[in-house]
Symmetry: D2
Subunit: 373 residues, 4 copies
């Protein structure tokens, strides 16, 4: 399939430019009979919508989704679910002066080297607004996963050089995340970050950060050897997000410095009284692991432990500080980017990270129905 | 496609278990008329073969490839190229006692949770030996890329907690890499690493590390938005390697701490006297970037700058140190793994990283022929 | 990919139910820089729209397409082209009594056996209206092909038991086709057919027929061995149309009765003064074939001769004649189908056959760019 | 995927040239735990092997398959199953004089127009021997289907202009098929056909024919709307066979002449005492159809009635009668094809038709596990 589709059996295709008539997606392969409500989708879209304060852009789109197909009497039909979100607040004029200029840190020139021309308005399809179709699709995947007890939660784990407390360490507060303009799991530290990002906004600069994600309720056995490994699929999903520059699972980049005797997660008997597990094949005992350095995935297959990974995002490249660059005639030009831009992509990246996780897991979960005769 | 295939138009499917009759691959979609020699494949296989000394396993397979189809009179036919490597030195008996035991840090139990049973001999398909089919396929992709001036070079950039000098920094020696048992780009430092890994071998332990990769000669415009981005595709390719736990491009995980004014690579006029560039579309000027924090990819599309990324590998999980684990009956067991195992996966991972890079780039390079009407 | 997508590199995904908010498609992989106008799409949609008189339904939809993405300043961007057509004239009430009844000759029960429930209004996604997304997508493919001199023409070659004259035989009139309510290539004979179908409409019955298609301007070398053969791909495309029951290429079903010495098309020197041919590889001479029993395809690869095939369509299953069937409770019921239905699907199937042909050829034409190093 | 792979989740990739080292396949996506024996594969290969007398080639290959991977202790592992069959009886010298000549009715020139050159020995990859990999793969699919009560049976339904009795009509003898050199379901008539084909062999000519196929035990609900319909998938599978020129389902090409009131298969209560049916979704009653004009598929979805279709094959193009053609220099040449060739492809096409049917159904059967939440 061409580059705007993803998935093997639970698939998504997205479309839309930042300043065109609209954006959206088609989800094909969602099982029939799933209860699906427009609110399931609106809720996720509003999580990615700017305007939450903090370091986000002030562009204010209503981002109202319309389900065009695939749902009848509140249930999925098994047919493609098409969702459309119209663009409203398009101040395309803001971009007129960028028509012939290649913005530093952006794909402008690479895009032209590829296609010969581009929609310069707001980055066209390479805009962060492109994630809208993904988040809408991910909302459907989330409903499918939720019905099976799978919960996906993301948060900003560092921003502007300030780290959040590690998961479950002192100061880590999961309840805070969705109330926090940064989706930061510690209110006090987030104030420091906001002070820093506000300073950067004034200076016309921007900040990078990381988003962490944790999935619970995942049964063991998900992931397809060799090229369709759970972590390989998630890595592709995350690096397909604009501004993402890296990903690491479990102990992650620290794993490179560990020794095997430390990094090896060893099987132990299941915690007594722990909740029920998905049915294991006959003859395979239930178990847990004493640690989770692997981040829930061994040999590309889920272990039943929580899935844990962190994605690195570079600073938003659209800054209002004066920059030197080239124009289409090859002349050196000074550039000051106007328009409304995030200072740090992390808080709005959280729902996109969750959406891509949900889409990947829904696909692998369906595929796992095919594992055994 | 099922999980053992990769690629859209230049595709590879691999097969084989560590202790079955053989391993190999089918490359489908390789253009016709390419000069291909069995030595092109043997050379790469010998680079991944153990026995180079250093921290690698002493299993000694000849790993002689046979081309079963797709090549006629020294040229590719445009038909599938099947390659077979037979297993010879199979001491399967070494694995008998592992039949009912779940090794820590391995996929044994997850595999059984998925498929109901597994080939326990040497890890079956989840063995590191599985990369053999990839390296054979990658050798073909390398020939295709080489003809277009694209060069892929990988090296061990850290091992057992010791970092190699950064690329082009003092002490970085590209010539050393292929002579070095660790594929380390600094001879003196590599002696320290070898001392450390030898110590670990004696202790029955193992080490992690990182492999870096650099690609030159790549034209701008490679990569498919949205889900088929160059970095997304490479991330999937790398995380599909056993023991890989993370990847970062360019400034990578450091990007999270940068500010936009620093991380933005800005376009500059091309260096005078620089070699020729692939044809750009009419009206698009040639340019370079003043820095390469992006690692050669912006918005998922190659910029024409060198492609640069680093992959993290966890320590080899097969250690001979005594470990506690569970068996198939759910009993706690003490385990001492015998057999021949790498202490650190990095030197042998280098050709696998290069192979996966070559396969990914060959696919995207072919796809780029379709970009413009 | 899931079942609502087609194509390898020039891909289409369709969506929409007959009585939902709308139908449409996403075309992904269309090269950038193609001139595309909304009229290119409207024109094809109006060809498939009912209301042309003759044996077609009297449902009168405006079928106005909207391009939601992928086109900027009249040119394709290389990004997904999404097209939406809203449903307007939905007399869903007509279908209320069909809610629990399985119509003979329809997929109603099979659909429920598959998905557990269905959108009963107008057949939901299994409505003939589903071709709307295909025809919109095919219109884009047609523009791409037209720019390369490829012309696709379909016609009703038989209907209600009356055969049209064979192509280029006396009485065959290509100019008549698009003026004719049946898309029949002979005005006098079409009057007979119309009399027959009008009689059937009065009787509450329906008729089958065949649609033939001819493609000129196709270069040799299209089609992918083994499973992606030109004729295999076209066969799938045609049988994916509702009511299609068979396909044959060239001499077709007659080929079974021929002898090799007759059916073999033999190479001959190209006709002097014939128009130019697409560039052949070095060392490969230009040629033609003395006959075209093969219908333009040998070994699954286009020969450069006109591509010729015929598709069989069964009679429209929605008839107003009284029929006996079962309802959801398993009771025997008498059924008289109301609503507006075609008597013979052929005239409106012509643009759908052409659209599917165009989509298939656009994909294979792009793929042929990858054949040689 | 490239052209030598087929299937979405139960996939096959084939490789091999007629006179190269060997041919074979990789089946990926076969569920784990299936009992699979080398005899299951050998049996099918011997059915397609020449030498059964009658109108088949006298090339005598042992066609001994070797399973290279994916099976352990007699059971499928869930990993790719690679099968290799070596070529032994390669009289490549027979083909030397064909090196620069384009055989009438063959893909020789089209292949060169595509790839620039070809393996001329025995047709290379476009040889009928290519089906070997398919038949091996199909044997695995057959085992999977057999375990679920699905039976696929093909036969020669016409050859050299002589029709076999229709299925279940007087004279139709299913028991005869596998004993008969023509796989003809009537011994007396087959003698007439053999007399005819023997005459054609002496004259240096060849004959076309048809192969019919019938599948019982198929549950309702198989097939994916819109492009992945059961009949669309089978049409692609059949037309991907060399020499196939057409396919029709159920009433087939006759359907074009029927009226809806006749062609509509109407639901009726299930025959009392009939065997059990696969589980239907809650609320969906069991039923049958009063007739099977649809050939077991409505709206692209299986109805639970026997699947019935017929494939047309053109005469074998390799005839020893003198033919006129062109060579690579564009000169007119006289050609007499030597070597060992079938006179009529049908008897050996039967196992290939069955294999492609099995592969298609296995894929759709697995996909049907994903239909409902």
């Amino acid at each position: 399939m061409a580059g705007n589709s993803s998935g093997t059996v639970f698939t998504v295709t997205t479309f839309g430019e930042s300043h065109g008539p609209g954006l959206g997606c088609i989800v094909d392969g969602c099982p029939a009979g799933l209860s699906l409500d427009i609110d399931d989708i609106s809720r996720e879209l509003s999580r990615r919508r700017p305007g939450g304060g903090g370091p986000s852009t002030t562009r204010s789109e209503a981002d109202t989704p319309e389900i065009l197909s695939g749902v009848f009497q509140g249930k999925t039909l098994g047919t493609p679910i098409a969702i459309l979100v119209r663009n409203n607040d398009q101040r395309s004029g803001d971009y007129d002066e960028l028509k012939d200029i290649y913005r530093p840190g952006h794909a402008d020139w690479a895009w032209e080297a590829k296609y010969g021309f581009r929609d310069h308005r707001g980055g066209g399809r390479s805009s962060a607004r492109e994630t809208l179709g993904r988040v809408a699709a991910g909302a459907i995947a989330k409903v499918f996963l939720r019905d099976q007890g799978i919960v996906i939660r993301g948060w900003t784990s560092s921003a502007a050089g300030i780290n959040a407390p590690a998961f479950e360490s002192p100061g880590f507060d999961f309840e805070e995340v969705e109330k926090n303009p940064l989706r930061f799991p510690n209110r006090e530290l987030s104030k420091l970050v906001l002070k820093k990002t506000e300073q950067l906004r004034i200076e016309g600069d921007s900040a990078g950060g990381t988003v962490s994600c944790r999935v619970t309720g995942l049964k063991p056995g998900l992931g397809e050897p060799v090229f369709g490994k759970l972590d390989a699929r998630l890595a592709a999903a995350m690096l397909s997000l604009g501004a993402a520059k890296g990903i690491a699972f479990g102990a992650g980049f620290d794993a490179a410095r560990q020794q095997g005797s430390v990094s090896n997660d060893r099987p132990i008997p299941p915690t007594p009284g722990r909740g029920s597990r998905p049915l294991l094949p006959p003859g395979v005992p239930d178990l847990e692991y004493a640690a989770n350095n692997a981040g829930g995935v061994l040999g590309g297959i889920s272990t039943g432990m929580p899935l844990e990974f962190t994605v690195t995002f570079k600073p938003v490249p659209s800054i209002s500080k004066k920059q030197e660059t080239l124009d289409r005639q090859g002349n050196i030009r000074e550039l000051v980017i106007r328009g409304r831009h995030d200072v740090c992509v992390c808080p709005r990246a959280v729902p996109a990270v969750e959406a891509m996780t949900a889409l990947t897991l829904a696909d692998l979960l369906l595929l796992s129905r095919l594992d055994r005769g």
